[in-house]
Homo-oligomer: 430 residues x 2
Amino acid sequence: MKESVSVGLLGLGTVGSGVVHMIESHQEELQQRVGCVVKVGKVLVRDIEKNRGVDVNEELLTQDPDEVINNPEVDVVIEVMGGIDQAKEYILASLKNKKHVVTANKDLMALHGRELLTAAVENESDLFYEASVAGGIPILRSLVEGLSSDRITKLMGIVNGTTNYILTKMTKNNVPYESVLKEAQDLGFAEADPTADVEGLDAARKVVILGTLGFSMKVGLDDVKIKGITEVDAEDISYSKKLGYTIKLLSIASSENGSIELSVQPTLLPSRHPLASVNDEYNAVYVYGEAVGETMFYGPGAGQLPTATAVVSDLVAVIKNMRLGVNGKSVILPQHERKLKKDDEIKSKYFIRLFVKDEAGAFSKISHLFKDHGISLEKLIQEPVINNGTAELVIITHETNHQAFEDVHSQLNDLDVVVEVKSRYRVEGM
Amino acid sequence: MKESVSVGLLGLGTVGSGVVHMIESHQEELQQRVGCVVKVGKVLVRDIEKNRGVDVNEELLTQDPDEVINNPEVDVVIEVMGGIDQAKEYILASLKNKKHVVTANKDLMALHGRELLTAAVENESDLFYEASVAGGIPILRSLVEGLSSDRITKLMGIVNGTTNYILTKMTKNNVPYESVLKEAQDLGFAEADPTADVEGLDAARKVVILGTLGFSMKVGLDDVKIKGITEVDAEDISYSKKLGYTIKLLSIASSENGSIELSVQPTLLPSRHPLASVNDEYNAVYVYGEAVGETMFYGPGAGQLPTATAVVSDLVAVIKNMRLGVNGKSVILPQHERKLKKDDEIKSKYFIRLFVKDEAGAFSKISHLFKDHGISLEKLIQEPVINNGTAELVIITHETNHQAFEDVHSQLNDLDVVVEVKSRYRVEGM
């Protein structure tokens, strides 16, 4: 058995520096846990001269990827460089060289996870990626280990910190989207180009990873229905509050009769629901298991040390497997062929807000339309809009299916009494 | 490698029946996960004739414990009979017979965990007990695996469903303790003799298990400071609400400079804190890690199938280890000798409610007392009590230490302006 394990890093940015810091500062505990010394053997960087605020022996730095991925001394490769093509190439080369790999790269795992996992199994190597979803929350390990005896039926996640920060501030301070986004950018909680976050793409990548693992199904990014938060306005939030709800950007992966749904969309949750009190940049994943019922895993979704913690936990698992000689055996490949729910198989309640003519019979026409599609109404608020002959109508339906609701939505626009449908959201967590 | 694994059950009550049900109904998934058939080989029961609502071949039932614990066919013993002495004897015998053991018995693990775990390690057997804390929540596995690279500094848990149900109803419906307890008993959420729950003993057993594992320290039930919920009254809850807090029975295990504190007590949490929205019979454990920051694990704390899920997850881990030939190696024995925090090392904010004489200078005397002990006040409410010359005063302090606060408390009783100190609670989660 080896007396020490050598780790090669691809990248020494925020997360990479955190990983080096944790390996060094937790050396004693690490040794206790895995029974051998864990050392950083080589680190691929773009610029050797750059000051990184972490103490790394300069001799360990290299600009040549081969010194990590083809280095016979390196046992485990940690990919924290980000990006897609080059990271993929390096990981595949590492696996072919019988190295084990830990990655924090959600974009890569969402796009090419199956190919990489297959390569890992073929080479009897481990490939772990806990840090790719919900940073410091050990959600992937919980799905695989803790809930391993149960059948998962639904996952609902707040898995993007930026959008949760924005929605939290909009809700608490009654301010519009644009000004909160600006503030978040100033504070570094949102990127200069926030598209991937606010349009829901980042969350979509994570729901692909969760759905693939939770339902062992071969799904990809194209299978996710995505709606971001850019159209959520202060009125939506204020009416939601009045009705006892909180709006969150929810990633949903759910399974019924062998078909699954993957989606990302702003969603109303009852304000007493545990997900509704996940605030600011925090993440959480709410899990429905057939036997266990409802569980939730909450924590920081990003950040240097939380993400590094997840990476180092994976590293510990890899080294334990090395010492047991069982690498590659706990890598899980999706078993089932892709089968997606049709729109009429997706069931939930809905919130819809619209402006209608403030005249006799208007509400009757609208409620008839819902009734004709078999949708009954659970809650509603109607308020006249001062001085312009219209009223604002907010409805929460009872449970229906997505097809029926969308049919009503498109026909509402044709009703003469409807001035404009302002917004519509799914309602979950009942 | 064995083609099938045989499980022997000690007990076939609610949880035992759930375990049998899950092994049978999830047979296909289990086989996929562990690579062999998992069958129930023998079940110890008190009464063979009793109808249990689960379909068990009568030939598997026995009233002779030796047919389980001394049966060479049985690989894994699942102890779900409860109680202390007999369960302990059977588990020790099973371990000596080189069987692996899964138990859901918190009382036993809190009292004799170290002895049992030592026996497991000596016999190269596994002994897992996920179900003993917070039923369906994979908290022990998360502490050991998911957060394995981090240093845990504090655990705060809502780990008793009965008391959480009672406090939730008192808070929501503004009703006194006695009437909610009665209702909980009628609904089966509280035992006819609720002492172990409402006096905090059940929670204390769980905090011993959490503290032992989280801080790898040799602690026992005597090391826990325990205060139950029987003295929480409607006024405490209503003032807490006014000040933005929710009262929960909190189990705390925290570590600083190698000393730990274990306690169970009604505690105020900010109403926006994730633990404050853990309602009804649900459980949650809030974990502070040095690197990861704050995470929370939420779910059902009891119930047939949630508990059975935890037991079967442990069973899966045992069988995986059997197939890898590494049983006994992931059993964790506490390393550190017991070292408890002194009262002046326990830091928090406090809530105190008292009746004072409604006269000039009363508040000045009281505030001086706090000041003299270095405690500053964060929030306060004073309201006159109609027609009796007293006023009700509610104070939340800034952070102080337990010794200083208790000193103030005892001296308050000596002040001539103080009529009565009604209640005092810790305040956490800032």
